[in-house]
C-alpha cells in the first residue's frame, strides 16, 4: 500500500486519498509520502509543466499566425495551420508510403552512422595512442573535415554505383568527423597518472589501452556520437532532397513540388522527432555503458 504511493501520479493519489479517509491511521503516512514525492521531484515536475506550457504557446502562436495569414516581413499566407498538419498526420500514419519513407531514412542513418562509429572510434583511439598513425592520418582528416557533407553529393554520385549507396556514404561522412575528432580529443585528455597507476599494477600495452585509455575516452566518444548523429541527419536530409527518390527528406521536398503544404510541415516535424529520438537512444546507450557517470 505504501510503496506504490511513490509511483502514483498526483491525481491518482488524490483519488485514492479520499476513500482512505475512512481508515484514519493509514491516511497521514500515505499523504506524507505523496508530499515527499512531490518535494523530491519538484524540479522535474516544474520543468515538465513549463515545457508543456511553452509547447502549447508555440502551437497557439502558430495557429493564430496561420489562420490570420499574417504578413510581417515573412508571409504566413501559405503556411499550413497546425490542425491541417494534424489532419495530414492522421492520414499519413495509415499510408504505407509515408512509413516507408521514414523506415528508409532510418535505415540509411543506421548504416551510415554505424559505419562511422565502427571506423571513427577505433581510428581515433589508435591515432591517440600511436604517433605515426596520427601524423599520417591527421593532415588528411583536417583537409577533408571542413567540407560539408552536402558538398560531397556530386562526388558521391560519381563514386558509388547506386543512389542508395551515395546517400549512405554522405550520412557516413557527416557523422564520421565529429566522432573521430572527439575520440581523439578524449585520448589526449586521459590522465597520465592513471596510466602510470596501471603500469605499476602490472598492466601491459594492450591492457592499458583496454582498461585505461578506452574507458577514459568514453565520455568524449559519446559526445562525438551525439554530435555525429545530429550531423548525420543534417547530411541525410540534404542528400535525400537533392538526389533521393525515397526518404523523409525527399518526402518533404516532394510535398513542396506537389503543393501539399501540410505535408511539408509534417515532414519537418517527423525529421525533428526522429533526430530527437536517435539522440535519446545514444544518451541512453551512454548511461548504460558508463554507469559511473550517472550522478
Amino acid at each position: 500500500m505504501s510503496s506504490p504511493a511513490l509511483m502514483t501520479s498526483p491525481d491518482q493519489a488524490a483519488a485514492s486519498a479520499a476513500p482512505g479517509a475512512a481508515i484514519p491511521p493509514r491516511r497521514p503516512a500515505f499523504s506524507a509520502r505523496t508530499l515527499r514525492w512531490f518535494r523530491l521531484n519538484q524540479d522535474r515536475l516544474r520543468s515538465l509543466l513549463v515545457g508543456t506550457a511553452s509547447l502549447i504557446l508555440f502551437l497557439i502562436a502558430w495557429h493564430l499566425l496561420t489562420t490570420y495569414r499574417v504578413v510581417f516581413f515573412v508571409k504566413f499566407t501559405n503556411v499550413p495551420a497546425p490542425l491541417a498538419v494534424y489532419a495530414s498526420f492522421t492520414k499519413a500514419i495509415h499510408d504505407p508510403h509515408f512509413l516507408m519513407h521514414i523506415l528508409l531514412s532510418c535505415r540509411r542513418i543506421f548504416i551510415g552512422f554505424s559505419l562511422a562509429a565502427v571506423v571513427g572510434v577505433p581510428l581515433g583511439l589508435i591515432m591517440g595512442r600511436f604517433k605515426l598513425v596520427h601524423e599520417v592520418v591527421f593532415p588528411v582528416a583536417e583537409v577533408l573535415r571542413p567540407i560539408p557533407a552536402i558538398a560531397w553529393v556530386p562526388m558521391a554520385i560519381m563514386l558509388w554505383p547506386t543512389n542508395e549507396q551515395s546517400i549512405v556514404f554522405i550520412t557516413f561522412l557527416g557523422s564520421f568527423f565529429p566522432i573521430l575528432v572527439n575520440t581523439l580529443h578524449g585520448m589526449t585528455l586521459v590522465d597520465p597518472v592513471l596510466v602510470r597507476a596501471a603500469k605499476c599494477l602490472g598492466a601491459r600495452e594492450a591492457a592499458i589501452f583496454r582498461e585505461v585509455y578506452f574507458p577514459a575516452s568514453l565520455p568524449h566518444i559519446f559526445t562525438g556520437l551525439t554530435v555525429g548523429m545530429g550531423v548525420a541527419w543534417v547530411s541525410l536530409i540534404a542528400a535525400e532532397m537533392i538526389s533521393g527518390q525515397f526518404g523523409i527528406g525527399y518526402f518533404t521536398w516532394e510535398a513542396y513540388s506537389l503543393v501539399q503544404y501540410a505535408d511539408i510541415a509534417l515532414g519537418m516535424i517527423a525529421i525533428g522527432v526522429l533526430g530527437l529520438g536517435s539522440s535519446l537512444v545514444i544518451r541512453a546507450a551512454g548511461q548504460l555503458v558508463m554507469p559511473w557517470r550517472s550522478r
Binding site: D191, V193, L194, A197, A198, K199, L201, G202, V212, W292
Partner: protein, 290 residues
C-alpha cells in the same frame, strides 16, 4: 637496523651514485645529484626536503618511470628498468580508475596478473575488509571522500603483494584529522605485511611518526643532506608526538629543512632580481626574517 634479517626477506632497495637531469629547452636541469639511499627489507623510510628538491624524481626513478642519468637503482639486486607490479605506488593525486568500482580497482593488479575472476573478487573483498572498506566495495570512486580514496589506493597497491611500497605525499591533500587516521592505517598495514616502504612527504611530524629512518634532502639539485634514525618504540601512539624525544627529533629535522628551504627560496629571490633591492626588515635581511 634490520641487518640481521635473514636473506629470505625481500624488498631491499638500493640507490647508488644516482643523478637525474631533465632535458629542457634551456639545457639540462639537474634535479638530483650524487644520491645514495637504501631501504632494508621491511623497513619504513621517509624522504623529506624542501619543495622542488627532487623527492618525486627520486621516487619515480625507483618506481621505474624515470631512467637515472647516472647511477643505478636496484631492488633485491636486480636493476630497475621499468614499472612493475613488484613495486606498488601510491600517488599524491587520487589515481583510482573512475570507471571501476572500489572492488574492481583493488582487483585490477590481480586481473593483470591473470588471477581468475572468482578468486580475485574474494581476495579484493578480504583486503577491503582489512581496511574497513567492505561497505563501499560497489561504490564508484567519485562518491568516496578523499581519505577513503587514498585508502583504496593503498589497498590497490598492496593487493598484488609487492615487495616494496612507494608513496609520494599520499596524504598531502587530506585534512589534519584524516591524515592522522591514515597514518595509523598505513602503519597497521605495514606492520601486518612486513613490506618495505619508501615514503615521500614534506610533513616532518608525519615522517618522524611513521619512519624507522628519515632522509633529508638538500635544495635543488637534491642530494642527501642527512640521514636520521628514529629510535621511537613501536607501536607508536599519537601521544608520543608530545614526548621530549619526538620534539628533539622534530627540532633537529626542522632546522635542517629550514636551512635548505631558505637556500631554495634564496635562489628564487635571486632569480626574480630581488636581491638587488636590498630589502631589509628592521635591520634584518629577508633570510633572517623568514
Amino acid at each position: 637496523m634490520s641487518q640481521a634479517a635473514p636473506d629470505t626477506r625481500q624488498g631491499h632497495i638500493e640507490v647508488r651514485n644516482f643523478a637525474l637531469s631533465y632535458e629542457t629547452i634551456d639545457g639540462a636541469v639537474e634535479a638530483v645529484t650524487d644520491t645514495h639511499i637504501h631501504v632494508e627489507p621491511g623497513e619504513f623510510v621517509s624522504i623529506v626536503g624542501p619543495s622542488g628538491c627532487g623527492k618525486s624524481t627520486l621516487l619515480n626513478a625507483v618506481a621505474g618511470f624515470l631512467k637515472p642519468t647516472s647511477g643505478v637503482v636496484t631492488v633485491d639486486g636486480s636493476a630497475v628498468t621499468g614499472p612493475s607490479a613488484e613495486r606498488g605506488m601510491v600517488f599524491q593525486q587520487y589515481s583510482l580508475f573512475p570507471w571501476k568500482t572500489v572492488r574492481e580497482n583493488v582487483e585490477f593488479g590481480l586481473k593483470m596478473g591473470g588471477m581468475p575472476k572468482f578468486e580475485r573478487e574474494r581476495a579484493a573483498r578480504t583486503l577491503l575488509g582489512l581496511a574497513g572498506l567492505e561497505a563501499f566495495e560497489n561504490h564508484y570512486p567519485e562518491r568516496l571522500s578523499g581519505g577513503m580514496k587514498q585508502r583504496v589506493g593503498i589497498v590497490r597497491a598492496l593487493a598484488t603483494g609487492p615487495k616494496v611500497l612507494l608513496l609520494d605525499e599520499p596524504f598531502g591533500a587530506l585534512d589534519a584529522q584524516t591524515r592522522i587516521i591514515m597514518q595509523q592505517i598505513l602503519t597497521n598495514m605495514w606492520q601486518r605485511l612486513k613490506i618495505s616502504v619508501l615514503f615521500v612527504t614534506h610533513d616532518i611530524d608525519e615522517a618522524i611518526f611513521l619512519s624507522d629512518r628519515v632522509y633529508c634532502m638538500t635544495a635543488r639539485p637534491g642530494s642527501i643532506k642527512a640521514e636520521i634514525r628514529i629510535p621511537l618504540e613501536r607501536p607508536r601512539q599519537q601521544s608520543m608526538m608530545m614526548s621530549s624525544e619526538f620534539l628533539a627529533l622534530r627540532r633537529g629535522l626542522m632546522s635542517l629543512i629550514r636551512e635548505e628551504s631558505l637556500k631554495a627560496m634564496g635562489g628564487e629571490i635571486t632569480d626574480l632580481g630581488m636581491q638587488g633591492l636590498g630589502i631589509e626588515f628592521q635591520g634584518h635581511s629577508i633570510a633572517d626574517v623568514l
